[in-house]
């Protein structure tokens, strides 16, 4: 019992004297866990709150790119789930602002490049007929950047696969072209190790589901 008391007191002492970086790690972990639970509960609106929380962390820390990255990721994911193209431009504006902040702190990062591709594709969905000539190559380039900047990152392959899956077959899309990309993504998900517990490690389940839809 004494041990228990000692433990509690110790916990209390530690809790009140958290160093800045431990506080950062704890807050980030909590938010990352919140994203997962919001996605499981299919509570897209919650993602906007989490995005705001990440942004607060980023603004307070000033030197960490991951909070801005996750804030943008939440905004983009929210927009894809919401599926209301008319609102996409506004959300993409916000996401691009956040990504610019992340990129100022972390150059040539595969994960950031991928979100840039996803944000551009949100914009394209507003008016695909009119915008694909302009944005199609941009999405392509960002995705390509994401693949070359980190060849072990499965997410660019997943995104490229899922984009193809949602493109009509007449336009070179469909499962036929999507499958190899999704397979490649699944293969990479099998071996992918994030740089730290805070680094991006999302997408495996979604990719499994998408790959399962392409048999």
């Amino acid at each position: 019992m004494k041990k228990t008391i000692f433990f509690l007191v110790a916990t209390f002492l530690v809790a009140t004297s958290f160093s800045q970086s431990e506080k950062y790690i704890a807050a980030m972990k909590k938010n990352i866990a919140d994203i997962d639970s919001a996605l499981i509960k299919n509570d897209a609106a919650r993602l906007v709150d989490i995005a705001a929380s990440f942004e607060r962390i980023g603004d307070a820390e000033k030197t960490q790119w991951l909070p801005f990255y996750y804030a943008a990721y939440c905004q983009i994911t929210f927009s894809f789930i919401k599926n209301d193209p008319a609102s996409n431009d506004g959300i993409a504006d916000k996401a691009d602002q956040l990504l610019a902040k992340a990129e100022a702190l972390e150059k040539s990062n595969s994960e950031i490049s991928l979100l840039k591709a996803m944000s551009a594709s949100l914009r394209m969905l507003v008016n695909p007929m009119e915008r694909w000539m302009d944005l199609g190559p941009k999405i392509q380039n960002y995705s390509q950047d994401a693949m070359t900047q980190d060849p072990t990152n499965p997410r660019p392959y997943w995104f490229s696969g899922v984009s193809l899956k949602n493109t009509p077959e007449q336009f070179g899309g469909g499962c036929g072209t999507a499958k190899p990309q999704l397979d490649k993504a699944m293969e990479l998900f099998g071996t992918f190790k994030p740089a730290s517990e805070l680094h991006p490690n999302w997408g495996k389940q979604v990719c499994e589901r998408d790959a399962a839809g392409c048999k």
């Binding site: 008391i5 007191v9 506080k23 929380s53 607060r56 190559p137 009509p168 007449q170 072209t177």
Partner: protein, 751 residues
Amino acid sequence: MKRVRNILFLVFAALLSVLANGQTTVKGVVKDNKGKAMPGISITLKDTYDGATTDSSGKYSFKTTEKGEQLIVASSIGYKSFEQKIILDGTTQTIDISLKEEITELRAVVLTAGTFEASDRKRAAVVLDPIDIVTTASANGDITGALKTLPGAQQVGESEGLYVRGGTAAETKTFIDGTLVNNFFFSSVPNIAQFGRFSPFIFKGTVFSTGGYSALYGQALSSALILESIDLPDQSSANIGLTVLSGSVGYQHLAKNKKYSWGGSYSYTNLGLAFAVIKQRQDYQKVPAYHNADANFRIKTSKTGMLKYYGYFSNNRLAFTTNSIDSLGYKDRFALGNTNVYHNLAWRENLGSRWKLNMGVSYTNNKDDISSSMQDNNKNEVLLGGLEFKRFNVDVKGNYFNAKFVLEKRLKGLSALRFGSEYNYSNDKSIYTDYNGNKYPGSVKEHINSVFAEADIYITNDVAAKAGTRFEHSALLDKTNIAPRLSIAYKLGKGSQASLAYGIFYQNPERRYLPSTSSLTFMKATHYIAQFQKVANQQSFRTELFYKKYDNLLKTAQTTGQETAINNNGFGDAKGIEFFWRDKKTIKNFDYWISYSYLDTKRDFLNFPFAITPNFAAKHTASLVTKKFVQKWKMNLNAAYNFASGRPYYNIGFDGANYKFNDRGTIPDYHNVSFSINYLPFIGKKNPKAFAVYVLQVSNIFNIKQTYGYQYSYNGYRKEAIVPTSRMFVFLGAFISFGVDRSDEVINNGL
């Protein structure tokens, strides 16, 4: 055991109380300046992790362990961020926040009265996408063809140009990158409308004003067509085009650093093949043939600056005969040679501290060589007694120079102040040679200097105004004018707005009626426009009511066989109502728009005996334009129907002292149904080696008889309908462009 439990409880209690003492709750409500609760707003304790997002009723609440003086910040896109000091001392703080809306382009009301815009900008004035210009079935790939399906423009087929709200084609002026374009269309041919000279693909933005336009533009009584050329291309590319009418090659080079580009193209158009298949009313001795060449460069002069050059050269000839209406068994011959050179240089730059500069110069050199004569059935030149005047020659040389600069200072929000100056020089020289070989030279030189200033004032996101004034001095007329312009827009609700516009517009007498022996002044039009617009979710509706008053229109008389200006005693007015409805939503992958215009206009100008409805004004005009994209076939199927109620026609004769009607009436209603298919086989392909568009276009598919008016024999005894050169017309073409990185590959693959 119980003791231990008690100790445990005590420790817990102590722990909790310490934690509780260290925490402060901050809560409140966020509302906008109208008192409406704002959900989804992020509240932050500055430079800490603590904060919250407001719920659906605008409420927020969070706990923080921070102490002492802190800043609470609330921010949201489109609102000014809110900051307030708070003292955190453990007691609950209630901070209610009111956010002030920031005036932003996305939310603010847009000054749309009289304006149709085709561009990629996300604004309420935008009713067309740039691609609409080339996918409107009745447009025949011509910019003005697409604009004729919008309310306000007439369906005039016997001559080129935009006839807007009871105005003549000369009352519409075209501007490319800010500067005036002379000879926007190919030179006129009697009773055959000519195309615009410029490809629609070199423009990224089109603003078509049917009235009440900005003080930055002048010398157009009715309408301004404002075109903006494209900036740097996305990649280097080569392209070829082959159609039943023409062949073209072009190349665009984009520098590796994406800082500059250059390019050029050449096309040769020959209507011989088309005319061999589709019988023309005219008997061509020289089938229309055009050489067109253009060149461009674009340089990024800084992060925001861009210098653009576009140069154009064209040479074309044609000659044809038609059965003479004046003398049976004889033919009228008309021949035209035209050479046109156009240069445009435009520069825009942000100068810092919210100053922006736009400047441009353009130069045009245009030569027309027109000859008219009569021939007998064996195509020998003849000179018939009493009809000698039908043999003549006119050589026209025009030199035009236009320079303009506009300085803009962005003020708070979207408000801005703009001012600048414009200089227009024109020198028209002509030599008229009569059947005897007598030469009558003419020369008209003009300098117009203008200064202008305008202010965009955004009071809130819901109210905006644009007020401007333009001063012009004409050296030729030796007169000055002051033209005030004002437009106001008020947001009524989400997506709906009401606008008003007023303005005075001046224009010099048309040079073709000069020189005159009398002293002339500017022609004047006053516009009053009221508009309602609602745009929501892929659907837009607008209606416009207008009244236009004309003063000081030109009156002409016959002197030595020529129509010459005598005074400014002409006048007139035009009023009407217009509707536009576009819907991309109701049917998936199907897009259509309907426009309708009602026009009531009368004017007394040129040789009109008194005020009448002019022969270019139909009371009812309507268009239905539909576009359907069939994914499976990778095809765009476009159809258009244009309608105009019968226009009046007149034969006005000169009895030596006065003009009078020899005949008058109304032409039949005009109907035209056109259809086009664009086939895009490469669309959506990953890394396509080439991009191709195949076009099939049929105008007047039902072969309906269209009458544009009547022409009369010299003695007035015979009249003949003015009809299109052929009823139906079929156009077939292929346009292929190669991204240059891969073109070698394509060629090697044996294309």
